[in-house]
């Protein structure tokens, strides 16, 4: 039939957008929990939560390390995938989708890497 579309070409081109969309929703769901916890931890529990020793002790414990790693991973993805979606909403994004995709992915990696650095130091 004339309506057949080249399947191979279709596949590689179409996977990024749906996966990014689904993952944006999932990371959003996870973030509501993680960010609420992070905020609660620093503002609701005690007045001393932001003292240097307490911050360092949190950063040194394995449980917090995992929590912060997840938080920075999901927040960096959610933020820069959001920026990517915003840029793709424009004619600039329509013209240079590859540029937008790679820059946002790079920004995500940098944000995630820089945030994780703190977890590796302590």
């Amino acid at each position: 039939m004339a309506n057949e579309i080249n399947k191979e070409e279709m596949h590689t081109k179409r996977v990024l957008e749906p996966l990014a969309w689904i993952f944006q929703l999932i990371s959003g769901l996870i973030l509501t929990v993680l960010v609420t916890f992070h905020f609660y931890e620093t503002h609701f529990v005690s007045h001393e939560a932001m003292e240097y020793e307490l911050v360092v002790s949190r950063l040194s414990s394995l449980g917090y390390k995992i929590m912060y790693a997840l938080l920075v991973f999901f927040v960096a993805f959610h933020a820069f995938n959001g920026v990517r979606a915003i840029l793709l909403d424009t004619n600039f994004g329509a013209k240079y989708p590859q540029v937008v995709n790679s820059l946002c992915f790079l920004a995500f990696l940098i944000a995630f890497g820089y945030g994780s650095l703190l977890l590796l130091v302590f």
Partner: protein
Amino acid sequence: MDVEFRIRRFDGEKSYWQTFNIPVKRGMTVLEGLYYIKENLDGSLTFRASCRMAICGSCAVKINGKPRLACETQILEIGNSLEVEPLDNFKVIKDLVTDFEGFFKKHEAVKPYLIRKDDNYEEPVELIQSPKELHAYYDFTLCVKCGACYSVCPAAATRDDYLGPAAITAAYRFNADSRDEGEKIRLALVCGDNGVWRCHFAAECSEVCPKQIDPAKAVQKIRFKSAIETIKSIFR
């Protein structure tokens, strides 16, 4: 009763507001008002209209900031002063007439017709459909392609090649049709970066649709489907 019509006009070079005062009777529509101006006050006023009964979708204009069909909007329901403008997100050709070429091209691009493997025009067969199957898509067949949804869509406002709510709704309408066999083809067509992913559920399209057919709902449904299909295709 006299009603003030402020109309945003465009003569090919500059855009300007012009005010007309016209006598209005109860039940008179905005379209009749525009005809009154054209016949009695200014023959150069240009607008598009045809059926006068909300089935051709030609006369959608922005009335007091909201897109509506001029033929089914009564003047006195709006008040005694009206602002009539051409639709947003379309190129204005003259006065209230906008360029729909791209809009119809996008509509055409999603293959809005039944796709079947057994098309046989020499010996056509009747395609049986139950009432339930009909109602799965019936509401979405009511679209009159007036462009109201497209004119308020924030994604269509900034990205010219976004398919827009109307075209994606048309794709959904045929995908939901039990007689159709072209679902995969259409999912691939709306799945690009100019397709369903540009929708962020501002849902304004559903708010302004003169036929109340909820384009936003169709976009969410077809998007969910194409995301699921894509994930399945990875494991295939």
